[in-house]
């Protein structure tokens, strides 16, 4: 039987890989994918707690996290596409003005 702390460790590792991705990559879509990684590590945590602590709430929360992630993905990518169409670049460093 795998102990709970293993799942927590895995989720921590994924979380930090996601954070590093957000901080170091310059391509905004890769940054976006790193955010998805972070969300997934949270999902692992929620479901692991739900299983080991015998409560269904964690799983229900994960459903809502996935719902919000979907809304966020749709909006985030729509924004990225609009920015790309206006500036011709998807580089985070170059998105430095609030209006154009």
């Amino acid at each position: 039987m795998v102990p709970l702390s293993w799942y927590l460790s895995l989720s921590a590792v994924l979380f930090i890989i996601g954070i590093v991705g957000v901080l170091v990559r310059r391509n905004v879509i890769v940054v976006f994918m790193s955010v998805e990684l972070i969300m997934n590590s949270v999902n692992i945590n929620l479901i692991a707690f739900s299983h080991y602590l015998s409560s269904i709430t964690g799983q229900i929360f994960t459903i809502f996290v996935i719902t919000v992630a979907a809304a966020e993905a749709a909006l985030g990518l729509a924004l990225i596409v609009v920015v790309y169409q206006n500036k011709g670049s998807i580089n985070v460093d170059e998105m430095n003005v609030m209006r154009w």
Binding site: I63, I66, T67, A70, A71, A73, A74, L77, A78, V81
Partner: protein, 120 residues
């Protein structure tokens, strides 16, 4: 419950094995005589022109966007349908509200012309 998933893994392994092994076996049997004409991308016989990887994918992208949002809503219907018979009226009122909001989204997309196909 976990034992139910062992055959799934087995089938996945078989599927991967079929895919990989048939390509490997094919490698032993088939001829391999490349030449530049063969290796260039197919373009109805004329010389390939322009950059291959920059087509206009915007119209497809819009449908992907709508699909993602509707898919999430539709998944809630599955959980609802599985327990509907246990809590009839209450669940019915809830889902009516839910479906109404989904319908609003569809109507909005329709009126704004997001469902209309825009080529190019």
């Amino acid at each position: 419950m976990l034992a139910d998933y062992v055959p799934v893994v087995l089938l996945l392994a078989i599927g991967l094995l079929i895919g990989v092994s048939s390509q490997l076996i094919g490698k032993l049997v088939r001829p391999d005589r490349p030449d530049p004409e063969k290796l260039s991308p197919y373009e109805c016989g004329i010389e390939p022109e322009g950059d291959t990887l920059s087509p206009n994918a915007i119209p497809y992208y819009i449908y992907g966007l709508l699909f993602l949002l509707f898919e999430v809503e539709v998944l809630f219907f599955f959980t609802w349908a599985a327990v509907y018979q246990n809590m009839m009226l209450f669940a019915f009122i809830e889902i009516t509200f839910f479906a109404f909001i989904l319908f609003l989204g569809l109507i909005y997309a329709w009126l704004k012309g997001a469902l209309d196909w825009r080529a190019g």
